[in-house]
């Protein structure tokens, strides 16, 4: 069965979601991943948005986290302060979905500038809630297009904390939990070593070689532990295409 890299990304990321997780979603592929997972294997997962929309029915896909569609028929409508209190809540297993312009081998991310901070060549949106989710959630999953300009040795600006400088550095910085769980790209799924917290290739999609992943990564990457990812099945694709994004707003 044919499927696009974006469809594979949504399904691969959705597999990290456990039933009962509380999901901090953004727009884009993250929303697809969360919604598909909830409809397939995590029916008791709760989706919420940094804007304060908690548990909406999402009958239509939101185009932004402030879209009225994140408020419609929700469990409750709150505000930013309350939404971030849920991200941080020690009782909840909150998983965030994040994207960025750059990522390094410890899963730290840049969504602020390319070039000098005070005279940037490119200015991006800035953190939004990404730094907060990276700081406060139980863990986060990253979506990236794979490429050497995005997977870099050194970030131009560290917006969102991953494993910082690896090892125990995250805990020593003052964080009690959290950190990146996986990076889901158009080529593969990357994870982090349990002790060094360095990124490694975990699963490559059908037809993708370890070499191709390595060529598209701007830092040395361990590809020795990789296997081929399970492709999406027909039911996953049907739900994704027919139920979740029939207008192909995000699938394109």
């Amino acid at each position: 069965m044919e499927y696009s890299p974006r469809e594979m990304m949504a399904i691969a990321a959705g597999r990290f979601i456990k039933d009962g997780d509380v999901l901090f979603a953004g727009t884009g592929v993250a929303m697809l991943a969360a919604t598909v997972a909830k409809r397939i294997h995590a029916p008791h997962a709760h989706i919420f948005f940094e804007t304060g929309g908690i548990g909406p029915t999402l009958e239509e896909l939101p185009m932004a986290v402030a879209d009225p569609r994140v408020m419609a028929f929700a469990n409750l409508n709150a505000g930013l302060v309350e939404a971030f209190s849920y991200v941080a809540n020690r009782r909840l297993h909150t998983i965030a979905f994040l994207g960025a312009a750059q990522i390094d081998k410890y899963g730290n991310m840049n969504s602020t500038v390319i070039g000098d901070y005070h005279a940037p060549r490119v200015r991006f949106s800035g953190s939004g809630g990404a730094c907060d989710a990276g700081s406060l959630a139980s863990g986060f999953i990253v979506f990236m297009q794979h490429g050497v300009l995005k997977f870099v040795e050194k970030l131009d600006y560290l917006t969102t904390p991953g494993w910082l400088t690896g090892g125990d550095s995250r805990r020593h910085a003052g964080y009690r939990r959290g950190g990146p769980i996986a990076v889901v790209t158009n080529l593969c799924v990357l994870k982090f070593d349990d002790s060094t917290h360095e990124m490694y290739l975990a699963e490559r999609y059908e037809g993708v070689t370890p070499e191709r992943v390595r060529e598209n990564t701007g830092f040395a990457l361990d590809v020795s532990r990789s296997s081929v990812a399970e492709p999406p099945d027909a039911e996953e694709l049907r739900i994704l295409r027919d139920e979740v994004d029939p207008q192909r707003l995000i699938l394109g």
């Binding site: 408020m71 953190s127 964080y175 707003l249």
Partner: protein, 325 residues
Amino acid sequence: MAQHNDLGGKLITVGEAVERFVPDGCQIAVGGFTITRNPMAAVYEIARRHIKDLHLVAHSNGQALDLLVGAGCVRRLDIAYGGNGRFAPTCIRFRKAVERGELLVEDYTNNMMSLRFLAGALGVPFIPSKSGLGTDVIAREGFPAELRGTEGVPVHKLVVIENPFADGDDQVVLLPALTPDVSIIHAQQVSTDGTVRIRGLSFADLEQCKAASAVIVTCEEIVPESYLRLAPDQNALPPFLVDAVVLAPYGAHPTACPYVYDYDPAHLNHYKAVAKGDESWAAYLDEWVYDVEGWDAYLDKVGGAQLARIRANTVAGYAPGLDRR
């Protein structure tokens, strides 16, 4: 229902409100978030009046932010996110202004900015956070040293301390409170005594208003005091925090006003296209800001059919099936 009174002098036009409460150089917070409930009638008016050197303090007020920046009204910006969701992952005029060095930017996060407004609302000088430790959000200051401690700019961007209630390895970020000169929000309803009701997400609008020195509320409609008093749990701001009320139907266009109208994908896509070029952007400003007499004329330009198209289903809160591509 009798025609509403003048709310004890508080009911004024958007022009009067901007004239009175938004002088050049003031620190301003605007309500809403990216493409929803931005107080656009007031924002277009600020642009139309060529207000200058604003210090805008924002979490993620996308559309309002980009128009104010693009019209050259803003000099300083405390911000978490300059984007507009799927319509503009980075706000286009904001991006250009920063890359051209036309704007001084201090980067925070959404949680930090909402907490800074909360601190201002609570009347405390700072508030702690566990966000951003080890990141450049904490390490890098955006504003130059000479601005530190001047009007509206805290002496430090933030301060990291050891938690005095712990044994060590527990760093805490202290964020300075925000107390803007003026906060402008758009609400669905204001009552004849000046009470405000917001439907749907309130974002950080309430904290912004409680922290500010003056509050302007633009609204879809004015309703009897007795009506809002029947359900006080649903009301958002008391009369004594509201300085000016402006009746501005569709006053959040092209952003959404939940339960009244959706965002306008046609306008936002057009905006995205024209914002990319300096000439086309200048033409947009002429067409939609400077050559438009006021909000009625703006709504005529949008057109009745388009306003009908984006009208919200009053139960769902948005326009189901609206073509949003």
